[in-house]
Amino acid sequence: MADKKIKTNDKARIFKRYDDLFNCSRCGSCTSYCPVYKNTGDEAVSPRGKLSLIEAISQGKLDFTEKISDKIYTCTVCGYCDSECPSGVKINELYEEMRQDLVDSEKYPQALDFLKRRLSEAYNVTFDTNEGRIDWTKQIPDSKPEDFLKDSADVFYFVGCVSSFSPRTFSIPRAIVQIFKKADVDFGLLGDEEWCCGFPLLSSGMKSEAKKLADHNIARVKEKKAKTLITSCPSCYHTWKHEYSKISSEKIDFEIMHISQYILKLIDERKIKLNKLDLKVAYHDPCDLGRNSGVYDEPRKVIEAIPGIDFIELAANRNLANCCGGGGNLESLDAGLSGKIAQSRAREIIEADVDILLSACQQCERTLAAALKKLKKEAKRKIKVRDIAELVLESMNAK
């Protein structure tokens, strides 16, 4: 045990966390929640297993190895284990520190190098250059892309990398912009001055790289004298709302809202009128909006404000909602497992037997739509996947 020398990274943060690690009683409760464990049966990727590995490292029983790195990174960062742990172990925090340690000792998955490089060169997670940030606005009726780039406005909409560059999700920002226009909101977009929020770096353990992005983004929004910053991506929201103040020295002097919260505000202020839609819908709580940010009620209130909607709660909802599989960087590290997790969640949606599955996250929508398509033979009816903003726009446009 003790005779085994620690070969790498003797400055590791994890060596200081033995007290927190020791709080894990190894009861195994987390194995009933963890999506990566439930879909692999691999104890080493379960929270209990990961913590036992981290503890073994902190005690010098095991070394930092590629294998441990693989296990630690097999995670959707859904936070279910952290919120339900009976002993209150700070699992999210411990994972975060462990991932930083693995980055420091250069034991992180190679796939993350691409991410790191792209974000330092092109400031977005795709293969495109950042100039294309608002190409999606071209199809919006009665407007030109330049109309949205303003020097100042009350509200700035931070679109996020996926919705900006992935054509399959363009319908979300397009719906949001049209809602804003109809409600006469004084809003603008940052265009190529919008950089990735840094979430993929933070969830990889690359805090210092994420800081550069945070500093830049906060400074740009401040320059625009915005009163409110809105995101549609829950991970952007979580990062802006809960992480930026921890990593950036720039002070945030504006309000940060998720689009579901802002739409509810518009409804309450009677700035938008919702018309009847005869649809049976369910809502999937995105991990970064629900469990990790505590926003559960606003999306539900928005849905229930639409006349004619038959709203069904999924069996696992709110803080107990299961992950869509698309969280963290799992999709780029293990697409097969990510897809399997998505199918588990899709089966719960099929059980609810609805016309539309709503979410408030482009990533959940992408992964769940793909999974529902794969499982379409199991469903009694065709289940469409939409964003809350899209449904709100549809209701506004309905007769």
Binding site: R26, G28, S32, G41, A44, L62, S87
Partner: protein, 459 residues
């Protein structure tokens, strides 16, 4: 084990089912006792035939084999104390058949207990045993440990619901014990012998379990008391008053305060104890039983006695009980959960004994648990890294065992002996019983290759 052995295991089990890396094996070295014993190889079991072949090889080569379900045990039952092969059962998790007329369900041993119940409920039935780990533990593990839980008083424990078993003996023979009938006296009752055998006699691969119709009505009652004695007296009087409740749980002052620290649910910190009582059955019976329960509690000076009028209220009542162990677990780094059990009529004395032990060793001990079964969970809050305190904890545990046995009780109500209590077994069991148990073990496993190091200290 040498490379030749490993290669042979790969050949038998399928290479994809064999786990060898040190990092991964480490994750199969522990259970809920927090003790660690490294297996030399982990094999993911996927069929009875495969397991049988592994045993044929292991018994020929005298390699230890330790079965493991979800590793939630509290006595070290699934730890590979002599190394060798750890047999991982979780992939054998299928429901094979449900028969609503025979009230039976056939499952593979690695299925999670809650999933058995969920399947039964699709047919208006339920699987009564309800151990605390119902969401995580496997049926195979439950049977091997004869797991108990919250519904013991009325519904009994795991062994009461096992009708038949398929199992693999240490020599590789596949055996079928029990019947699919209500009655069956053909030969020894091997099913009951397997229940609680702690995985030392055979590896359970399939189980035929009994189900019951879901009772149409239930009532939940929360009663608060000034003293734990009054609560314990109520337990006694409820049963002697002719009511067998489905649940009868007690929570003591230390635990109430821990829950309040954690949840801030507005519990009165000054009360001595609370009882959570549930009765179920036909509506008329539930109503009259609930009246008896309330009358008994009130006549034992209950400060309040409230029946939940909605599901929401019922959930609130249960919230505190569900949080009991978590709340205690947050107080100090280690929680030692004991399960010494006494006859129901001796609960008051047992509670007193535990309180005296807590005082004697200056250790915080929270007590909660299944009062209706006499199965309390004195939970010692400690830090197992503190060597001096560990000595005190060990003495306190021994005193708790002694107290339980003096009151006509037992060392373990539901967690098993394993390695945690092996050293104390002879405190309760006479020499003759101990010797015959060893001979039973030897009859099944002459070379002591199946789950060695458990229950007996001298095999």
């Amino acid at each position: 084990m040498n490379t030749k052995d490993i290669n042979k295991i790969k050949e038998i089990a399928g290479e994809e089912n064999v786990i060898l890396s040190e990092e991964e094996r480490h994750c199969y070295s522990y259970d809920s006792t927090r003790l660690e014993h490294m297996p030399e190889v982990v094999v993911r079991a996927n069929s009875t035939r495969q397991i049988s072949d592994i045993f044929k090889f292991a018994s020929a080569e005298k390699i230890p084999v330790t079965p493991r379900g979800a590793a939630t045990g509290l006595s070290g039952g699934c730890l590979a104390v002599n190394g060798g092969i750890l047999l991982l059962m979780i992939d054998m998790d299928k429901i094979l058949d449900v028969n609503p007329v025979d009230l039976l369900i056939d499952v593979e041993a690695g299925i999670i207990t809650e999933e058995v119940d969920a399947e039964a409920r699709k047919h208006g039935l339920f699987y009564p045993p309800d151990p605390g780990t119902v969401k995580t533990s496997t049926i195979g593990g439950n049977i091997a440990e004869n797991a108990g839980g919250l519904r013991g008083l009325k519904y009994g424990v795991t062994k009461n619901y096992v009708n038949a078993l398929e199992a693999v003996l240490p020599n590789g023979d596949i055996v079928n014990f029990g019947t699919r009938t209500v009655k069956g006296v053909t030969g020894y009752n091997m099913v009951d012998l397997m229940s609680g055998s702690e995985g030392t006699l055979a590896v359970i691969t399939k189980a035929t379990l009994r189900l019951l119709p879901v009772p149409p009505a239930k009532a939940s009652i929360l009663a608060l008391f000034d003293t734990i004695e009054e609560a314990a007296k109520s337990v006694r009087d409820i049963v002697s008053g002719g009511v067998i409740t489905s649940t009868l749980e007690i929570i003591d002052k230390v635990t109430i305060n821990a829950i309040e620290d954690y949840l801030g649910a507005g519990l009165n910190r000054d009360i001595g104890a609370m009882l959570l009582i549930e009765v179920d059955g036909q509506q008329g019976a539930v109503d009259s039983e609930a009246e008896v329960v309330k009358k008994v509690c009130n006549s034992n000076n209950a400060l309040s006695c409230r029946q939940a009028s909605s599901d929401q209220e019922r959930d609130e009542i249960w919230r505190a009980r569900r949080a009991a162990l978590s709340s205690l677990a947050r107080v100090r780094p280690s929680t030692i959960l004991e399960d010494a059990t006494v006859p129901r009529s001796r609960i008051v004395e047992m509670v007193e004994a535990v309180n005296n032990i807590a005082k004697k060793y200056e250790l915080p001990i929270g007590t909660f648990g299944h009062a209706g079964d006499g199965n309390l969970h004195p939970t010692i809050l400690t830090d197992m890294r503190d060597k001096k305190e560990v000595i005190k904890v060990e003495k306190a545990i021994e005193d708790i065992f002694k107290a339980a046995i003096e009151l006509g009780g037992t060392l373990s109500g539901e967690h098993g002996i394993g390695i945690s209590k092996a050293g104390y077994l002879r405190m309760e069991i006479d020499k003759g019983s101990y010797e015959i148990m060893k001979r039973v073990k030897k009859a099944f496993d002459p070379d002591n290759i199946l789950n060695p190091g458990k229950i007996f200290t001298d095999l």
